[in-house]
Each structure stands twice: as structure tokens, then as C-alpha cells.
């Protein structure tokens, strides 16, 4: 069983939901990331989504766009991201790490070399925003052979037919994007999310995470009431953006945010 599947199985027996923070690797400087990952786990994160910086993050709002720009200003590459995961694994062999990013850096490295290197580094899953399963038949095979969970997105516009198709390619969990838009958008409609999750659950047994629009303990708790996992991206990255000049404050501030969310979700 993969680390991701184990994690969801354990949480299920505990009657808890997964808290999944997102950070862009290398934001706001490369030295910040690994200690931050450990701090997030200590604060209650169950899975870490580590963003691979890309020059053209088409599905991201300004907060994560700027995170990519800060990381790229330090030349953070996919190789560097994998090294960060390997360093993280020296002290943490349990917490699943999912890479999230765009296809081109992986395409340039080559799918087989990437899958091998990611597996060696201790990566558990890969979410490539711009790779729908239709284009990913070969890639999914390569990932699964390397025991990497291919994570796919579902959206409010995904039809029942496509939900089935997407979930057939996915493993680990599926990620429901709670609204039409880019990361960092506002106004999450929990009732609408719940209705769509019912539809998704009728079509797959995979755990369903929900992201986009979760900004504080209150929204995290609301979403945890209907989803198997709560993904928090821009709200976390905002704490990095606010502390670029004093990077020592990044980990404590993010840990405080996640602790609040954890408490509210478990209450």
C-alpha cells in the first residue's frame, strides 16, 4: 500500500480528515522549504503538497504565480525539488509528499528518468495540472510502475462520464477543485461542494480532497465535514509572501495557521 493510501486508511480508522498544505518548493528561498515541511507536519499536516515552480503557471492565481517567480529567481529546478524531498525523508519516512506542478519540467527530464528519481527521493504522488488522463495514458503507466500515485483534478464542470474516466486513471486520492477559477479565488460554496462530492463518491472509492478557496479554520472545518481531505494553498503561501524579509517567521506563522485548522477540523 502506498504512503498516501496508508495515510487515508489510518485517518479513516481514526475518524479524521486529512489536512494537506501546499507550498511552492524553494519559496521564498531554497533553505526555507525542508524545515517548513517538518514544521507543517508537527502542526498537524497529514500530506504535503510540494509545488514544482514553473514559469507559466496557467491555472494559478497571483499568490502562487508570485511564489513560482520567487523560487525561480533562485533557480529552483525539478532536480532541486527532488533533492528537497530526499532531505525531508532523512527525518520523516511517514508523511506522504505529493508533487504538484505543470507537465513541461517533467517532460524535459523524461518520464522514465523522472519517475525513477522521484521514487528514489521518496515522492509518493504526482499531480500535473495540465495533464488530463486522455493525454496521460503512457505517463500514468510509468508513474504507477514506479509506485507513484497519479493524482488528478475534478472540477465543477466535470461530467459524470469524465469523473469515471479520470478516477480510473487516478490512485491515492482525487482532488476536487471547489470552484471555477484559479488558485486563491474566494467564496467557497460548501453546499454545492457537498452535492458534487456525492456524485463523485457514487463513481469512485478513492478518497476525495477538496481545494481552492479554503482560507481559515472555519472554511477548513466546513470542508472537512464533507470531504476526505482539505487542501490549503494560497492561504499558506500568503504567509511566505508576507515574510520574505524575515524568513524566520514563515514556519511559525504557517504552523499556527495549520494548528488552528487542525483543531477546527478535529473538533
Amino acid at each position: 500500500m502506498s504512503r498516501v493510501a496508508e495515510c487515508f486508511a489510518r485517518l479513516k480508522t481514526e475518524g479524521r480528515k486529512a489536512l494537506i498544505p501546499y507550498v511552492t518548493a524553494g519559496d521564498c528561498q531554497p533553505g526555507v522549504t525542508v524545515p517548513l515541511m517538518h514544521a507543517m507536519v508537527a502542526a498537524g499536516a497529514d500530506i504535503i503538497e510540494l509545488g514544482v515552480p514553473f514559469s507559466d503557471p496557467m491555472a494559478d492565481g497571483p499568490v502562487i504565480q508570485q511564489a513560482c517567480e520567487r523560487a525561480l529567481a533562485h533557480g529552483v529546478s525539478l532536480h532541486d525539488v527532488l533533492e528537497m524531498v530526499a532531505t525531508f525523508r532523512e527525518k520523516d519516512d511517514e508523511t506522504p509528499v505529493v508533487l504538484m506542478g505543470y507537465l513541461n519540467p517533467i517532460e524535459v527530464m523524461g518520464y522514465v528518468p523522472f519517475a525513477q528519481a522521484a521514487c528514489d527521493a521518496g515522492v509518493d504522488g504526482v499531480l500535473t495540472v495540465d495533464l488530463p488522463p486522455e493525454e496521460g495514458v503512457e505517463v500514468v503507466k510509468i508513474f504507477k510502475e514506479a509506485e507513484l500515485d497519479p493524482i488528478f483534478l475534478l472540477s465543477p464542470t466535470t461530467t459524470a462520464e469524465r469523473i469515471g474516466k479520470v478516477c480510473a486513471s487516478a490512485s491515492g486520492f482525487v482532488y476536487y477543485v471547489s470552484l471555477k477559477g484559479v488558485t486563491g479565488a474566494a467564496n467557497l460554496d460548501v453546499a454545492a461542494v457537498a452535492a458534487k462530492l456525492d456524485e463523485i463518491r457514487g463513481l469512485t472509492d478513492l478518497p476525495v480532497g477538496v481545494g481552492f478557496g479554503i482560507r481559515d479554520a472555519e472554511t477548513a472545518a466546513q470542508v472537512a465535514g464533507v470531504a476526505d481531505a482539505v487542501v490549503v494553498g494560497s492561504a499558506v503561501v500568503n504567509r511566505i509572501a508576507a515574510n520574505v524579509a524575515q524568513p524566520d517567521r514563515i514556519a511559525p506563522e504557517i504552523a499556527a495557521l495549520l494548528s488552528d485548522m487542525r483543531r477546527a477540523m478535529d473538533a
Binding site: 514553473f54 492565481g61 513541461n104 493525454e135 464542470t157
Partner: protein, 401 residues
């Protein structure tokens, strides 16, 4: 060679390994809907009649195929014909495609149009059709391009469009495209995204090509009337590549017709300041399709440079990538300096002021013509007029207009 016309893309939008549909999940349903509507309209006599009527009475087609007699004499080689897309309404070939896509938007009941633009020609063409159909129009344009194409920005605003300067990334066309995609994903219910070139996710590359093919169909008929035969070569500039594919496509199965796509060579394709992915890039995935890209060893897209905003793009349409790989078309690069020389030459020798984009095609056309015999015939696609570039050209010469 087996028949190329009508052979590609396949049903998933692939031209060989290129093309496809690499987008976030939220866009998948919208692209499938667009494809199904377009597939129907492609064979719908009423839709095609409306499109043809608009091209005739609103755009002013057919555009002339002009024999550049004086320039031909000066070059001393092949007879040079110019396909006068600069004479279209709004001054470039872009309007052919926006007319087609706007008709689709209307059929699909969309009330809002968005577009990206580099030189501003596609933005103007989109704002124009939006005004005519009474649709809201938002145009995304790199902040640097907003500065260097001020005339077109004002033109779009006069037409009632909102022009949004994009400050992210390299502040040029690729970033405008990113921002338009973000808008589309957010407003997908009421918004139609008019992509201006033969790139992006399927069905855009094939659909834009089909709308632009009127250029090549006319040119094929016109050159046979003028010369009694097909040309020896076609030359067109390639940013995303819509004017080039529009000219080339109806000639793909004519083996005797050589095809030349001309990229923005900037300071020279051997330098790191250019916009020539087919000449010196490599395959990757960006903006919804697999194609040749300007990228670094880590797969990050690198900033491009061209004197021409319309060629300043790190990717290229997937059909061009495929035509390059199978050897049907040749892709070359022309430097800023060579393009500027061609701009002046055509202006002084023929009294036609070309767009800086088209000046790249003219510069290569001049080299090619000079290397050929007097009984050879070439067609250069004069894709747009140069009024919008007067400030750029004057600025380079230290003149304040």
C-alpha cells in the same frame, strides 16, 4: 508523398506527437463542447455561407495577389507576388479567424469574448467583431506590448474593449495567453475565448487553420490566373503561425511548391535573444499543446526577443512542428535588422508599408527571390500593414513622432 490535406489532426487533436489537449480539468468540458459545435458548423452550409458573406462584405475579400514588379526587378531573380492581407478590414489576416470564431460564439450563446494579443492585431480584430455583434470584449496584452503598440491599444479601447495589461512573467504575448486562460477558467459559463493563432488546446489549432485557409485557397486560384501555374515557393512569417498555415495548407499536397516559415531571429538565432523555437528550440508542452518551445534545461519557458511583438512568442503552432519534422516545410529565422531593412525596402520600392511581422517574411522572400531564376515565381504573405509599427521604427531611428 501521401495526401496531407485533411489527414491531420487525428480525433484527439494530434499532429504526429504534437498538438493535443494539455489543460486543467475545468477547461476539458468547454473544449469538448467547442469541438462538437465546431464539427457541426464545419459542414453546415448556412454557417459557411454566413462566414463567406462576412469575409466578402465586411473584411473585403478576396484580398489581391499583387505582382511586385519594381521590387522583383531590383532583386533580379524570381517574380515576387504579395498576398495582400494588409488590405483586409483592420489591417491584417487576423480578422479572418475572429469572424469565424465570433460566429461560433454567437451560435453557442456566449455573451462575452476574451482574447490575448501580442502586436495588437488580433486584439483589434477581436474587439472589432465584438463591437459588431454587441458582445463584451476583454483583451489581455503583455504590459511591455501595451507600451510598444500604443496605437492598437487605443484602437481597441475606441472599439469598446477593455484592455488588461499583464504584468506577470515576461510581460509579453505568452503571459497574455496565461492570463486569458485564467479568465476563461473563471468565467467559462458565459465566455468564449478567441485564440488568435494556430496554437492552444485542440480544437483551436485546426479550427483557426480552417478559418485562415481562405488565404491559401485564394492565392492558389489567383496565381494560376496570373501565371498559369503554381508558384515555386511560399513564404510567410511564423509567430504562432496562423498566417503561414493559412497560406501553406491548400498547397500541402503540391510537392513542387516549397514552403518557408520565417521566425523572429531577434539578434540572431545563434544568440540567446530571439523568438525562433522551430530553428533552435525543442519539443515541450505549453499553452495546451505539445510543440517546439524556447525553454531551458529545466523545462522553464525562456523569455524571447523580437523587434516584432507578434512574433515574440516562445512556442509555435503544433502543425508547424509536424511539418518541420516530416520535412514538408522549411523554417528559417530573420534578424531584427534584416526585417527592418525589408520594411524600408518595400515601403520605398513598392509604396507598401508592411507590418514588422510580415517584414520578416519579406526579408527571407528577398533572399530567396534573388537566389532563383527569372522564370521562378514566389508568393510572400503580406500578413499585415505597418501603421501600428511606425512608432517602433521611428524610435529605433531616434525620431520622435
Amino acid at each position: 508523398m501521401s495526401k496531407l490535406i485533411d489527414s491531420l489532426p487525428d480525433e484527439n487533436g494530434h499532429f504526429g506527437v504534437y498538438g493535443g489537449r494539455f489543460v486543467a480539468e475545468t477547461l476539458m468540458e468547454a473544449l469538448e463542447e467547442l469541438q462538437s459545435v465546431y464539427d457541426k458548423m464545419k459542414n453546415d452550409a448556412e454557417f459557411q455561407a454566413e462566414f463567406d458573406a462576412d469575409l466578402a462584405h465586411y473584411v473585403g475579400r478576396p484580398s489581391p495577389l499583387y505582382f511586385a514588379r519594381r521590387w522583383t526587378d531590383i532583386l533580379g531573380g524570381a517574380r515576387v507576388y504579395l498576398k495582400r492581407e494588409d488590405l483586409n478590414h483592420t489591417g491584417a489576416h487576423k480578422i479572418n479567424n475572429t469572424i469565424g470564431q465570433a460566429l461560433l460564439a454567437k451560435r453557442m450563446g456566449k455573451t462575452r469574448i476574451i482574447a490575448e494579443t501580442g502586436a495588437g492585431q488580433h486584439g483589434v480584430a477581436s474587439a472589432t467583431v465584438a463591437a459588431r455583434l454587441g458582445l463584451e470584449c476583454v483583451v489581455y496584452m503583455g504590459a511591455d506590448d501595451v507600451k510598444r503598440q500604443a496605437l492598437n491599444v487605443y484602437r481597441m479601447r475606441l472599439l469598446g474593449a477593455t484592455v488588461v495589461p499583464v504584468e506577470s512573467g515576461s510581460r509579453t504575448l505568452k503571459d497574455a495567453l496565461n492570463e486569458a486562460m485564467r479568465d476563461w477558467v473563471t468565467n467559462i459559463d458565459n465566455t468564449f475565448y478567441i485564440i488568435g493563432t494556430v496554437a492552444g488546446p485542440h480544437p483551436y489549432p485546426a479550427m483557426v487553420r480552417d478559418f485562415q485557409c481562405v488565404i491559401g485557397r485564394e492565392a492558389r486560384r489567383q496565381i494560376q490566373q496570373a501565371e498559369g501555374r503554381l508558384p515555386d515557393a511560399l513564404v510567410a512569417c511564423v509567430g504562432g503561425g496562423s498566417n503561414a498555415i493559412g497560406l501553406f495548407y491548400p498547397f500541402l499536397d503540391d510537392e513542387g511548391v516549397a514552403l518557408y516559415g520565417v521566425e523572429g531571429g531577434g539578434d540572431g538565432p545563434e544568440t540567446d535573444r530571439h523568438a525562433a523555437p522551430l530553428c533552435s528550440g525543442r519539443p515541450g508542452v505549453l499553452h495546451g499543446n505539445r510543440t517546439y518551445l524556447m525553454e531551458d534545461d529545466n523545462g522553464q519557458i525562456i523569455e524571447t526577443h523580437s523587434i516584432s511583438a507578434g512574433l515574440d512568442y516562445p512556442g509555435v503552432g503544433p502543425e508547424h512542428a509536424w511539418l518541420k519534422d516530416i520535412g514538408r516545410a522549411n523554417y528559417v529565422a530573420v534578424t531584427d535588422a534584416e526585417a527592418l531593412q525589408a520594411f524600408h525596402d518595400l515601403t520605398r520600392f513598392e509604396g507598401i508599408m508592411p507590418a514588422l511581422e510580415s517584414s520578416h517574411a519579406l526579408a527571407h522572400g528577398a533572399k530567396l527571390a534573388a537566389s532563383m531564376d527569372k522564370d521562378n515565381v514566389i508568393i510572400v504573405n503580406l500578413s499585415g500593414r505597418g501603421d501600428k509599427d511606425i512608432h517602433t521604427v521611428a524610435g529605433l531611428e531616434g525620431i520622435k513622432v
